[in-house]
Symmetry: C3
Subunit: 140 residues, 3 copies
């Protein structure tokens, strides 16, 4: 079994949910040489996250941002971690709800996702910087 | 290290949380030949999801469905992705909250879960069709 | 590719979010012998969970506990799974929101996390016992 790992930087994005499937695929060509295996993507941050969801209609990403702000509101009276601004503590909670890594099967040199699935970078901060991702493909 | 991958179809289920541990285990016999490794299950959809939870009392699955509908209600005024019905956008959000894959250690040819753990297929649509899963076992 | 697996027990902790990064690393020395690979941590329970989040300020863990109790309140009128106390059904739901396993890349014998990332054990029961974790490292 082979394993190939790379670290990439995704330029700063506005707060919200963003499709990055193509950025990922283009960053790790070796994916095409794996017959059966996995792609793992890991984000090295605690205020941005990764998930898999609908890849076609931008209103899905809009609605994700709107609703997650209802589920995890800013300025709750019980928040103590408030020094870095009202978006900071909610960003940490949202990150754990979405998750810090995704794992996708590879079959015949391609991501074996459903036709409507894509990879989202979920940016939970108002003024984010770029984000570091670790990409790993492994398999036979 | 060996890696074996299969794709299976789970027949359409009603909206709610369903135990599918036995369906998974019976679909991939090769699991028994792995001494140390993993089972990964990936769902190729964005309105159904996978999680691990309590495998004994059906009221747990009932309460999951009731509460997730409170956390992610239908017909929110800010939803724009509404063409496919009121259950569609909530289904996408619920899918990302639960997740699109699970990874379970294999030890001595068996899933090394706790005695109360089982695999749930979480169906978030009212009128779902069958669901495609990618099963992969790997290890020594 | 090599794969090494161990099972460890984390002594009982109070309800809340707890940093266990050092407990994990010290329990599986073999991590240092992997150039490129992964650490997977799996929790064998359905009322405690694992996530990756901020490793420095204890108020983050405080705020996690406060807010998850708002998202998943006790004593909801629609809960049927109530025999084991008001904290039981919420514990199951919280576990699936956070997740039962984490997967972290290994690079040059070290966990390749961001400098602010740590591993949380999320204890969702009031009177928990110890928790069993399966640790697996694999790679070249």
């Amino acid at each position: 079994m082979r394993i190939i790992q790379k670290e990439i930087e995704i330029p700063a994005k506005p707060r919200g949910f963003h499709l990055i499937t193509q950025d990922i695929i283009e960053s790790i060509d070796e994916l095409q040489t794996i017959d059966v295996g996995f792609l793992n993507v890991f984000i090295k941050h605690t205020s941005a996250s990764l998930t898999i969801n609908e890849n076609a209609d931008p209103t899905v990403r809009h609605d994700f941002e709107k609703h997650i702000n209802e589920m995890v509101p800013e300025n709750q009276p019980y928040y103590k971690h408030t020094l870095e601004g009202p978006d900071d503590m909610p960003a940490h909670i949202k990150s754990s709800l979405m998750g810090s890594s995704i794992q996708i099967p590879i079959t015949d040199g391609r991501l074996n996702m459903g036709m409507w699935q894509g990879i989202y970078l979920c940016e939970h901060r108002n003024n984010a910087t770029s984000r570091q991702l670790v990409l790993t493909v492994y398999g036979n």
